[in-house]
Amino acid sequence: RAAMAAAGGEQQQMLTQRLKAAVHYTVGCLCQEVEEDKDVQFSKQSIAAISEITFRQCEIFAKDLEMFARHAKRTTVTTEDVKLLARRSKSLLKYITQKSEELASSNMEQKEKK
C-alpha cells in the first residue's frame, strides 16, 4: 500500500511538472507578445517567476471558484463565480463581464445555427 501511495505521489508529481511546463511555455509566448509590443526584454528568470506565480494563482482561483459555487449551492462552477473572482477591481470586473457576455451570445448563435 505504501508503495502504491508512493507511486501515486510520483505520478502526481509528474502531472504537476507537466502542467507547470505547459504554463511556462504559454507564459513565455505571452511575454514574447509583450516584448514585441513594448520593445522590452524579459530575462528567462523573470518569465520563470511569472510562470510559477501563475501556476500558484491557479490553485487560489480553483479553491475560490469551488467555494463560490458551493456558496450558491451549486457543484458546477459558472461564469457568475468567475466574475466574483474579479469583484475587487472595477476595470477587471467590467472586462470579465464583457467577455462573458460575448461568449454567451456567441454560444447562443451556435445553438441557433444547429
Binding site: M14, Q17, R18, L19, K20, A21, A22, H24, Y25, T26, G28, C29, Q32, E33, S43, K44, Q45, I47, A48, A49, S51, E52, I53, R56, Q57, E59, I60, K63, R88, S89, K90, S91, L92, K94, Y95
Partner: protein
C-alpha cells in the same frame, strides 16, 4: 506630547466604555465630542506635524481600460508594498491571524526570485521543466502564436 502613549488612549477609551457615558458614546456611529477631542489631539495628522498623510496605492491595470479614480499626488505619502521586498522571502510574525495560502504563495515566489537573482543566462526552472513539456497541452487549435513562439 502627541501620540505620547497608548496608555492615555486606553484610559480615555475605557472611560468611555465604563460608567455613565457608555450609552452616550455608543448611540451614534460618529465620535462623541470627547472622542473627537482625543482623536484630534493624539492621532489626527496636521500640517504642523511635518508628515504626509498615508495613502494606499491604487489598482491600475496596464492592459485594461482604467475605471478606478486616480489619486491626488504630492500631498500624500503612498504606502509602498515593494520597498522592503528583500524582507519578504520568509514568513513574518503573526499575531492573531495566520498567513493565508495566497500569502504563502507570495513568500515562495519571493524566495524563488531570491534564488534566481544571481543566475545568468540559462534558467534552472526552465531546464527542470523542459523535459515535461507536451505540445498537445499547449497546442490550442487556431492558435496564431503557434510556431512563432521559440520558448
Amino acid at each position: 506630547e502627541r501620540r505620547c502613549s497608548s496608555l492615555q488612549h486606553k484610559s480615555a477609551l475605557s472611560a468611555c466604555v465604563t460608567g455613565q457615558k457608555q450609552t452616550n458614546c455608543h448611540e451614534s456611529w460618529s465620535l462623541s465630542p470627547e472622542e473627537f477631542e482625543i482623536w484630534d489631539r493624539l492621532y489626527r495628522i496636521k500640517e504642523s506635524d511635518g508628515i504626509k498623510e498615508p495613502v494606499l496605492p491604487r489598482v491600475q491595470f496596464e492592459t485594461l481600460e482604467n475605471l478606478e479614480e486616480t489619486p491626488k499626488e504630492g500631498a500624500a505619502r503612498e504606502l509602498s508594498l515593494t520597498e522592503w521586498s528583500v524582507w519578504q522571502n520568509q514568513p513574518l510574525p503573526t499575531s492573531l491571524v495566520d498567513h493565508s495560502d495566497r500569502c504563502h504563495l507570495f513568500i515562495r515566489a519571493m524566495e524563488m526570485m531570491e534564488l534566481m537573482r544571481h543566475q545568468q543566462g540559462d534558467c534552472s526552472y526552465e531546464q527542470e521543466l523542459q523535459p515535461h513539456l507536451r505540445m498537445e497541452d499547449v497546442n490550442i487549435p487556431g492558435n496564431k502564436r503557434r510556431g512563432r513562439c521559440s520558448r
